[in-house]
């Protein structure tokens, strides 16, 4: 994973009611991450109220969007994108994937199977239906599956990966400072 963003905890207050809308957080794993972001937004106490966007009756809205890159599963799995996606749009990565899987099968998982996933988290600030600002933050995770990684499970940084989402939420609050007028 990439370097962690540093977020200053002193966030100036804005006297506004805000609604949020989550887009693209499809499965269980993603929902945990989305909860981390929402928790961080609430804890920062920047806004007067934060509530879920139902119909557009409020003035301010924040869209929290997740875009996930396609990835090959350990073997095949169930991709959420059309199956031809990786081969068509990332031919370089696709051949690396194949090479990696051939090698790890040949060495009986001494060389681990790697999975790389890119995520883009986008925050958009809307006033009525006018977009005031947009901020995107990338998260890249690499997973390894094999004997060596099994031995290293103790050093797993999964917990840390979860906090990266709340860090980005705080960073967004700081970055978007001037947009609530």
């Amino acid at each position: 994973m990439g370097s962690r963003p540093v977020a200053n905890q002193n966030i100036p207050k804005v006297d506004k009611d805000i609604t949020y809308e989550l887009i693209g957080w499809k499965d269980k794993e993603n929902k945990i991450k989305a909860t981390e972001i929402l928790k961080a937004l609430h804890r920062a106490e920047k806004f007067k109220t934060i509530s879920h966007f139902v119909k557009s009756d409020s003035e301010w809205k924040i869209q929290i969007i997740l875009d996930e890159s396609p990835q090959l599963a350990i073997l095949l799995g169930e991709p959420v994108q059309p199956v031809s996606w990786v081969a068509e749009k990332r031919p370089g990565r696709y051949s690396l994937y194949i090479l990696n899987r051939v090698l790890s099968a040949a060495t009986r998982l001494v060389i681990p199977v790697f999975q790389v996933k890119e995520e883009i988290i986008t925050f958009r600030v809307w006033k009525q239906n006018v977009k005031k600002a947009e901020y995107s933050y990338p998260v890249e995770t690499i997973r390894a599956f094999g004997w060596i990684s099994l031995a290293l499970t103790f050093f797993d940084d999964k917990k840390e990966i979860e906090t990266i989402y709340s860090d980005y939420a705080l960073l967004f609050l700081i970055d978007s400072e001037k947009n609530y007028e």
Partner: protein, 174 residues
Amino acid sequence: MNKKIFLSLIGFLFNLINCAGIYNEPVFINKQKTNSIQKNIRLEFTGFYFYEKELNLLKSEILNSGLRENANSPILLEVILEEKEYFYKYKSLHFVNLIASLFTAGIIPYYTITKHEITYRVSEGKKEISSSKLVLELDQLRGLSLLPITSFFWPSSAFDKSILDSWKMRGDTK
């Protein structure tokens, strides 16, 4: 590892490109009557970060249908694409399919479905004028036996078609 198993595994992996996508017509899950909207709109695409090609196709389709993009328009058209998890009706059968496909190096094709939801939302100021949501499902087969037909049923093309059709169907509800 048994050499045969190893080879069939490799064969199976390469079968990722021997695939076929079968087009399904988009299905409405939320449908609102739309009065014909003003010609000038602002467009906002969401969820297309990794679907750049599809974004451009859909954008030209929307602009070809008579709408014009104008950064100062009070009308906003949002197009939201979301990937969804698909839950198979017969899970054990699906698993048997995987195993069968794996050990025949993909001569028996492996069947999967992807699911997307696309939302068209029109708003003016605070007010939401209309919102339609459609489900796009794509049946896909992967396997060695599909090699001869792969280029005719390329999954991305089937997916593009269903995205474009969802816009046409939305227009029909006027």
